[in-house]
Amino acid sequence: MHADKVADTEKLAKAIRVEPSAAREMVRFDKVVKRFGDNVVLRELDFHVRPGERITLIGPSGSGKTTILRLLMTIEKADGGKIHVDGECLTHSNRGGREVPADEKHIRTVRKKIGMVFQQFNLFPNMKVLRNVAEAPVHCLGLSRGEAEARATELLELVGLGAKLDAYPSQLSGGQQQRVAIARALAMQPKVLCLDEVTSALDPELVAEVLDVLRNIAASTDITMLCVTHEMKFARDVSDRVLMFDQGQIVEEAAPDKLFTQPEHQRTRTFLRALLEEH
């Protein structure tokens, strides 16, 4: 799979085709609030991500990292504040000069810019691998079945699964399934890719193959990445900035080298120490 990495990189860059963005900020959270019942998961969270930037979100479970990705992907709805993606508001739309909560139609147009890979892969078990990747481009990008399948084949080859087009997800290993899921997300040509603990459900020896694919994508494209992970080595290699979360707020943010070696806050230090002991 890594025999010809340089060629791979060029092919990836061509296959993924992230459109350049005119916006200064690819993602922007403005005082975003999210509650589950009485539990406030995010309290007036502000942060932004520049186009092409790779962000890693770390923090204890329940600190709201995954919720941020799920809000961005519109799987969850914010209880307050605004989210902008690539210069467009995801949470609100403008109707006759007034700002109203975004309707389904508006959400759909902005959501196109975002893709997501899940911890549990969430492939469609009733579809073969090729169709898993080609289905959404046919119905959401208006590609013909033939075009969509050609592009899906290309992407699947680039994640090392060119031989598995006709397999069902249940016939693949976890690592292979997750690579299909990555190809499936990329097939929609998102500008932002959300990675939600994508290696947490994998057997340890399958983690590397997934992270290698992601490293390749990071190295060869301008796609903006938001990554929730406990893989500190990966976070260090790939990300431009690490945000440390606790109780729905950012405790500390810095470049990975700085944050992992000289964290300023006690909370970050305890968290990183616990993480090290675990591994």
């Binding site: 799987i75 893709g115 899940f118 969430n122 009733n126 119905h139 959401c140 997300a185």
Partner: protein, 216 residues
């Protein structure tokens, strides 16, 4: 009273013609129940509260009233409202609508059995809702509920004798007719029972096999 074989052979063709009607009513009724049940199940998940409430009330009402009363209503009351249905048509509509209330529950369970991650992945891929249903949810939900749907088809098959009450010449009505002509009920009614058994037993075994195949 001793079993009369000559009489048995005499009436068998008539009873088999009745069986054909019984099977036809079951098949048409099942199609109605499968389609309408799915419609009920989907409407009960509608985002519009009035749609959910009205559908729920209609389903509950139909399920809580006897099928025979519903058949009488369709056959005897509707004509006074200007809608005249043949016995067979009223019968299959009655059976289909009644069983749709059961199959809608089956579909509901099947739909809820599809993991939430499937919906989330569909959202992440921006698939339109109608496409999510057709490509992702129903293809996973329906195979799993086929055995349960099959059991309702068999149950419906065994309830078709009710249609004799609205002039449909299905098997039981034929047997009753023969009995009242000859005053011999032993042979016709025994044959009706056997013929029902002959169809429903293999059908049950097939459903059992389906159940085992999808039980994972």
């Amino acid at each position: 009273m001793i079993w009369d074989w000559d009489y048995t052979w005499d009436i068998l063709p008539d009873l088999l013609r009745g069986l054909v009607v019984t099977v036809q009513a079951t098949l048409v009724g099942s199609v109605v129940a499968m389609v309408l049940g799915l419609v009920f199940a989907l409407l009960r998940r509608s985002r519009a509260t009035p749609v959910r409430v009205v559908t729920g009330a209609v389903v509950e009402f139909i399920r809580s009233t006897p099928l025979l009363v519903q058949l009488y209503f369709l056959f005897f009351v509707l004509p006074s409202l200007g809608i005249t249905l043949s016995g067979f048509l009223a019968g299959v509509i009655g059976l289909g609508v009644h069983y749709a209330t059961y199959t809608s529950e089956v579909y509901r369970a099947g739909i809820e059995g599809v993991p939430r991650g499937q919906w989330e992945a569909a959202t992440a891929l921006n698939l339109p809702t109608s496409r999510v249903w057709r490509s992702v949810i129903l293809p996973q939900a329906i195979p799993r509920v086929l055995p349960a749907l099959g059991n309702y088809v068999i149950a419906m098959f065994k309830e078709t004798p009710l249609l004799s009450a609205i002039t449909v010449l299905e098997m039981l009505a034929v047997a009753k007719g023969l009995g009242s002509q000859t005053f011999r009920y032993l042979e016709p009614l025994t044959l009706v029972g056997l013929l029902f058994l002959l169809v429903s037993l293999p059908a049950s075994l097939t459903v059992r096999r389906l159940e085992r195949r999808y039980a994972r």
